[in-house]
């Protein structure tokens, strides 16, 4: 590693509406360096990289990239082509390979001029083999990508970037899909590549690998760079504190004696297609007047747990009891009938039918209710009146209750969902990432409503990747990791942070 600066992000800011995704973030990258970009989900890592790649236009700030001679030159922002020409390559978390083509064609795809009729496949193959020899990255060039393992596909993605002579490589959560052995191989390949002069930015939220394989660590939190440290000076404790933050803003809340259990999961297992929707032998109890916070890094089984409580997911074993009633038919309708209110993680995808009106979306969960229909016919006046009342009570702003729901902003969509859920006085509430992507005001409103429901006697399961949120709202904290739930028995953010990273069982 030399001290030759190769990339410099200068005060990049990006706002989406009232949400600040990045606030004056500056970073520097040197030749042959591995820079780890660390942060929780929603901390702004991906937004930052998307600005570097020209996918987003920053509101403020600039980027300088070194040219072949090592002189820093400003990069034209907002143009992916400019980033490519400047020698920046990115490997996304979700691969962008054509599964029916072999590795060679995938690597070359897009780098040949369209007007060229003959393809220099032999030349391309020689170049790729040279890269493979230098870096130790190996892939079967003649095998269709669809038949490859995830690790091999990722090597093809990296080769694809290297084939374009990148000097800066960005890897977005490269180990999320790899086995530990594959991850180790990847890191030794990265080591070889940096010795050749490549610089790497490496996005992750796994402390251990960051400490083992990077030179420099930058931590983002809520869109702000909260710290940067040479890896040699860092340890897990320091990094964990940076990631979860030391400041606690206590939401005013009164202590409450938990009542009778409203939700009991006993030895529940869910067999999913991947880790993110798998649960292994999970048990939990939520009582009235209690908020149970589920902390964890995304993709550790939260979707399975949420699906289970929503009624969308069928367990492979174990029992679910909602307020003394054993759930045998796993369908959202059953859970709604038993008094479970659900705030979905992806409010646009699962929470609303965007093409239908706000008023219709407000009654979509109670179409059997005689207030909403009689003999199969909708009571339009009652539905409108209900919507007007809820919009006023929950401060849902937008072009009116008869407008399509998709015209509402994210915060107002969430308020609409809150109105729909809380108006039914649910016994149990599942709040899955209820403040993700919301501005401060809307997020505070969500917190206030949850505490209100708790005071009324509801039990609440709060799933969140934002440890601040969990600690400020939850009466009890459990950590989800690798499909297993562990009682935290502590409110120490460092200890919880380590449990989230799977470092402490």
């Amino acid at each position: 590693m030399t001290q030759q600066k190769i990339l410099s992000l200068n005060g990049l800011s990006k706002r989406f509406g009232s949400v600040i995704a990045n606030d004056a973030v500056s970073l520097e990258l040197h030749k042959g360096e591995v820079l780890a970009l660390l942060g929780e989900n929603g901390a702004g890592k991906t937004t930052l990289m998307n600005m570097l790649f020209g996918h987003y236009m920053p509101d403020e700030g600039s980027v300088d990239v070194a040219d072949e001679e090592g002189n820093l030159r400003p990069l034209a922002l907002g143009h992916p082509q400019a980033a490519l020409q400047a020698g920046i390559g990115m490997v996304h978390q979700h691969f962008t390979l054509a599964e029916n083509l072999n590795a060679l064609d995938n690597i070359v795809l897009g780098s040949e001029p369209l007007r060229m009729l003959r393809r220099d496949r032999a030349g391309a193959r020689a170049k790729i083999e040279r890269i493979m020899a230098h870096t130790g990255l190996t892939a079967h060039l003649d095998v269709p990508v669809g038949k490859m393992s995830v690790g091999e596909r990722q090597r093809v993605e990296i080769l694809k970037a290297l084939y374009r002579d990148v000097r800066i490589l960005v890897l977005d959560e490269p180990t999320a899909v790899l086995t530990p052995q594959e991850a180790d191989t990847l890191f030794s390949n990265i080591g070889a590549m940096t010795r050749e002069g490549l610089s790497v930015i490496f996005i992750s939220h796994k402390l251990r690998e960051v400490l083992a394989f990077s030179h420099q660590i930058a931590v983002l939190r809520h869109g702000v760079k909260v710290g940067e440290i040479a890896t040699a000076d860092a340890n897990e404790r320091v990094i964990a504190r940076m990631m979860v933050g030391a400041d606690t803003q206590e939401t005013p809340r009164e202590a409450m004696e938990p009542g009778k259990p409203v939700l009991k999961l006993e030895n529940i297992s869910v067999v999913g297609r991947s880790k993110r929707d798998t649960l292994e032998n999970v048990s939990l109890t939520v009582r009235r007047h209690e908020i149970l916070g589920i902390a964890g890094v995304s993709g550790n089984g939260q979707s399975a747990l949420a699906g289970l409580i929503s009624g969308l997911t069928r367990p492979s074993g174990g029992s679910i009891v909602v307020d003394h009633i054993g759930i045998t038919e796993h369908h959202p309708q059953t859970m709604i009938r038993e008094g479970v209110g659900r705030i979905p993680e992806d409010r646009h995808h699962d929470g609303i039918v965007g093409a239908m009106s706000v008023a219709e979306n407000m009654v979509i969960e109670r179409l059997d209710d005689p207030e909403v229909q009689s003999r199969g016919l909708l009571k339009h006046d009652a539905i409108s009146a209900n919507a007007d009342r809820l919009a006023a009570d929950y401060d849902v702003r937008g072009p009116g209750v008869n407008a399509r729901a998709r015209l509402l902003s994210g915060g107002n969509i969430q308020k609409m969902i809150l109105a729909r859920v809380f108006e039914q006085n649910p016994k149990l509430i599942l709040a899955n990432q209820p403040t993700r992507g919301l501005d401060m005001g809307a997020a505070a409103e969500v917190a206030r409503r949850l505490l209100e429901a708790r005071a009324r006697g509801a039990g609440i399961v709060l799933i969140s990747e934002d440890l601040d949120e969990v600690l400020s709202l939850a009466d009890r904290v459990m950590v989800i990791h690798d499909g297993e739930l562990i009682e935290a028995n502590t409110r120490d953010r460092e200890k919880i942070g380590l449990m989230m990273a799977g470092e402490m069982a």
């Binding site: 034209a76 082509q81 969308l312 959202p332 309708q333 995808h349 039918v353 093409a355 969960e365 199969g376």
Partner: protein, 358 residues
Amino acid sequence: MIRIEPRQAPSRLMTLGIPVLSAVVALALAAIPLAFAGAGIATAYQEMFKGIFGSVFAFTEMLTRATPLIFTGLAAALAFRARLWNIGAEGQLYLGAMAAVAVGAGAVDAPGFVLIPLVILFGCAAGAVGMAVPTVLKSRFGADEVVTTLLLNFVILIFLQMMLEGPLKDPMGLGWPQSPPILDQGMLPPLMDRMRVHSGFIIALVAAGVAQFMLVRSVWGFKLRAVGENAAAARHAGIRVNRSMMSVALVSGALAGMAGVSEVAGLKGYLTADLSPGFGYTGIVVAMLAGLSPAGVVVSALFIASVFVGADSMSRAMGVSSYLADLVVSMSLICVLIGGFTARYRITRVKPLRGEGA
């Protein structure tokens, strides 16, 4: 650089005006091949107009032609609203027609007020079964209903030919593959003396009205729209998506079956393998032109029937090919699809940023 961005909300004027404008543009575009065919454009369109509105007979012929198109158009529109791609209305039409002659051509001897409802009931049921099969295959095994409904059309057509050579063959038919005629009292009564337009047209209008009402005002319609627009959210909200799909499938199949009943028991009287010149497929065009609105289906069915009937009479008078009608219909569909796109998206020119090409 051109950028395409979604409009906030398509205006009412646009949603209503674009189909009309598309029809006009399509007719204007059709003038080009007409000129190539060597016909005077003005006279050609005059003949076409006369062929539709020139006489009571011409007009009732147009209504007669529109009747099955309203039924198949509704079948497509309702199914498509739920994102259930029923391409099998043609086959379901023939199932309905077969059931109609099986019941109506002598198997049951009853007075008209019993027999007519019975013929309709069996025809609709047969069509519904025809759509239920692919829907079960879709919800159970994930079989793509576009493929299954489309291919079933051919299966049903071959089945029809088998039936017309076997159990449904008219013994008095001089060996022709045709069914015995439906009993006189089983026929849908004509609406006017000496004209072919029959009460099936009234049934079609009522069906469209009911479908429109149910779609907007009923819980059934609410669920159907929710499932079609966002199945994930519908399911999350407790709607039984498969059940909703099945119910719309049954209604869609029944409507297509009714098209067959109406043709065989309203117009022809007996069943042959060329009962439908593709009414099932044209119904898809009707539904798309109508923007999948049941009320709109009536208008677009009348428009397409007019084009077909008008082009027929134009081709007779001017000696140009009647395939021109197909051309106008296809061009209006293309125009409506382009028009629909411009209603939903705004196309703007963006100035390229300076400093490009680093």
